[in-house]
Amino acid sequence: MMLARVADSLYWIGRYVERAEHMCRLSDVMLNATLDRSEAASQVARIALAAVGDPDVAKAKNPYDAARALALDRGDEGSIFSSIALARENARQVRDQITTETWERLNLIYLRMSDPEAGRSFEDGSQLFLHDTIADLHLFKGAGDATMSHGEGWSFLLLGVYLERAQLIGSLLEVVFGEGRRRRPISDHFALTSVLRMGCALEPYLRAYTAEMQPRLILQFLMLDEDFPRSIRFCTQEIESHLSAIIRHAGMAGSVGPDRLAGRLRARMQYADMDEIHAQGPSAFLKTVLDECAAIHRSLYDTFVAYPLEDRLPA
């Protein structure tokens, strides 16, 4: 049993920390590209900016400024700072529900990013700054995993993490592999490596498919790999299992909507066929995936958070 508002906040903590981590990684890859070749750098920057949903292509000409704004812009709701601040604000509202160890990790990240000196730390070593933030976000999840009870609240938090992750990776793949944008397919080795880095997938990919960078294999890996924690398939497995845990806690088995949606999406990913996906174009498949993620989110709200009171009043 937990308060609906608390479940909501835990879920959003999960979403915001995942978003922050993903943005850090995109920025990091973008900055890393500037160290290499300028042509590839702007291509990578374009991918990264498109993946975070920034329509302003001109920013890709100056990846450093784009990364700095993405990290620290307080006025931008999509910045890393805003995501961290919102995650922490949610955590503050459910401070009684998360352990001190977990809270401290998140608070630490917030304190560093909100420090008046944060801008200078970023300028002194932007990649180190982003790297530290990612590492601290890992520590936050690790502290939660090691100290929080793995009950209903934990499941809501992870549901947020995996739904967000599935949608972020889905958007990234749409930018890179979607056919709707009339761009030349990305074939450059450096750009493809950067895409894998954005999904934190380079090393696991290399072990699975060696250093041969094939767009099709990259798409397959990030979408359908069973064991890689950032593949969409893996996310859907986690979404399904955390939803069924929540439903078990609630004693509502067999009567709710979100688990049916989650099961269907998981099955879709589990039994997907790459040839079929290519035949109809990855965009259509990715759109279905993203739509179903959004439907799970809505259904989750209708069932556990914003349910109509009339249905639940005692007789």
Binding site: A7, R95, L108
Partner: protein, 491 residues
């Protein structure tokens, strides 16, 4: 929160008495219960002390023990300064405080039970009837309402000060929604890290059971009709300055922290919205003021409580702690009668004295006040937080004249007290140990029985010479060590 005045200027006619020093005797010798701390301090360099102070500040910041300062455009979070040097109270002194506080709260609960039922004390003329019934904090809605164990003020935080002669006196009772207990607990956690050896050796009494005792107290309020009552903490929300404390207590008690929007009242039962539907609530430890708990009964514009909550309370289906209407017993004018109230119900003299208080509603006292406006502190009865106050020694002639008019126009609305001298305790100020003024806020629980936690929040006026201990005005806090019987008593 009470507001203290600044130290009187030197030209004040009243004799200046040296404040009581918590650590040193007038001859400059260290009091026995401070000996261990003093010995430890002499082995630490100023740099080491400063390092410990930084460690402590970092602990508070990391824990998020902050209050929010709202600016024009943005708001910032600040920590409440916490001084690393503990304030120490010897066992015998504490025994007296404990007895005095227990006696006082017993009498005040009896007073509340009386004025909200038979009103015997008013009929006997011990406390003037209109003083009670016309107080803004008096709630006629509470009349004849059953309160288990007659425990109206389940959590009480009284502000004590130590007078120049070394005796503790009560400056103010706080029976509404007293706060600060989380600072008491956090300061303890911090000081255990800063002075582990001294702490172990000193025989400090434990305060760790506070959350557990609070829960027991709250549960005892519903014990006769619910074997295992569902307790919740009701907070105004994350933007309240005491939010950290609300979350902290809920976490340590292991009960849900709810906001008004989580509550649903249906058929005179109170429920909270959970992920699995509605769940019944039996006891609400509310940290929301009386005015805001139920828009149907009290303030209509409040969204911090739940509509219908008070009716559920009246129906006996939920307990609200503290009971609404307790504020009438800590009213500034009623305060003056507390020694008589104790005498009336318990037949005892007050163990802890009051500060001398002049009631302007009495003509003789009014004329005394009017003649001494430059020396006294005048407070409006209904106001708090330092508003409607005249600090005589710091006022201009024009302000005094203005207050004189107000006093004559509505004498019943004012009380006056002499300028109080707070005791001083050693504090770490800019790498050096200096004396600063302190007060003492112990916390008393009352349910089935009354329990005084052997510890307190010591608030510190960090500015030199200042007597203002409020956190909003340069005040800080420090840990308070109450020593056990065998340690630290004067030989």
């Amino acid at each position: 929160m009470s507001v203290r005045r600044d130290e009187p200027a030197l030209n004040v006619a009243a004799p200046i008495v040296a404040p009581y020093d918590e650590m040193l005797t007038p001859d400059g010798e260290v009091r026995p219960h401070y000996a261990a701390l003093d010995a430890r301090l002499s082995t630490l360099s100023t740099e080491e002390l400063a390092e410990r102070q930084r460690t402590q500040e970092r602990f508070f910041l990391l824990q998020g023990i902050t209050f929010t300062v709202y600016g024009a455009e943005s708001s910032t979070e600040r920590i409440i300064p916490s001084d690393i040097l503990p304030r120490i109270i010897a066992a015998a002194e504490w025994a007296r405080i404990e007895a005095g506080l227990t006696q006082r709260l017993r009498a005040l609960n009896m007073f509340l039970a009386d004025i909200y039922s038979e009103q015997q004390i008013l009929m006997d003329g011990v406390v003037p009837r209109e003083l009670v019934l016309q107080a803004p904090s008096y709630r006629r809605e509470m009349q004849n309402l059953y309160v288990p164990h007659k425990a109206y003020a389940n959590v009480c935080g009284s502000d004590l000060i130590r007078q120049p002669d070394g005796a503790f006196a009560v400056l103010e009772d706080n029976l509404r929604v007293p706060s600060g207990v989380s600072y008491m607990l956090a300061n303890r956690e911090a000081s255990r890290r800063v002075f582990p050896g001294t702490f172990r050796g000193a025989g400090v009494r434990s305060i760790d059971r506070y959350p557990d005792l609070l829960l027991t107290t709250l549960k005892s309020m519903a014990a006769d009709w619910r074997p295992n009552p569902q307790v919740v903490v009701l907070t105004p929300g994350v933007y309240n300055s005491a939010y950290y404390e609300h979350a902290y207590l809920a976490r340590l008690m292991g009960v849900p922290l709810v906001e008004g929007r989580d509550l649903v009242v249906h058929d005179n039962m109170v429920y909270m919205r959970t992920t699995t539907g509605l769940r019944r609530i039996d006891v609400i430890y509310r940290r929301v003021d009386d005015d805001f708990i139920d828009p149907l009964t009290f303030r209509r514009d409040s969204s911090l409580g739940a509509a219908g909550l008070f009716n559920a309370y009246r129906a006996g289906n939920v307990v609200i702690c503290n009971a609404p209407g307790t504020g009438v017993a800590d009213d500034k004018a009623v305060y003056a009668y507390v020694p008589e109230i104790i005498k009336y119900y318990l037949g005892e003299d007050a163990i802890l004295p009051n500060i001398e208080t002049f009631l302007c509603r009495e003509p003789a006292q009014l004329s005394h006040v009017l003649g001494n406006l430059d020396k006294l502190v005048v407070k409006a009865v209904g106001a708090s937080g330092g508003y409607g106050m005249l600090v005589g020694p710091h006022s201009t002639k024009a302000q005094q004249a203005e207050f004189a008019d107000a006093l004559r126009a509505d004498p019943g609305n004012y009380i006056a007290q002499p300028t109080i001298q707070l005791s001083t305790a050693p504090c770490l100020i800019d790498h050096a140990v200096e004396a600063r003024h302190v007060d003492l806020r112990p916390f008393i629980l009352s349910g089935e029985k009354i329990v005084v936690t052997p510890g307190a929040l010591t608030r510190v006026a960090l500015r030199k010479g200042s007597l203002v201990v409020n956190s909003s005005q340069g005040g800080g806090s420090k840990d308070t060590w109450v020593l056990s019987e065998t340690k630290g008593d004067p030989k």
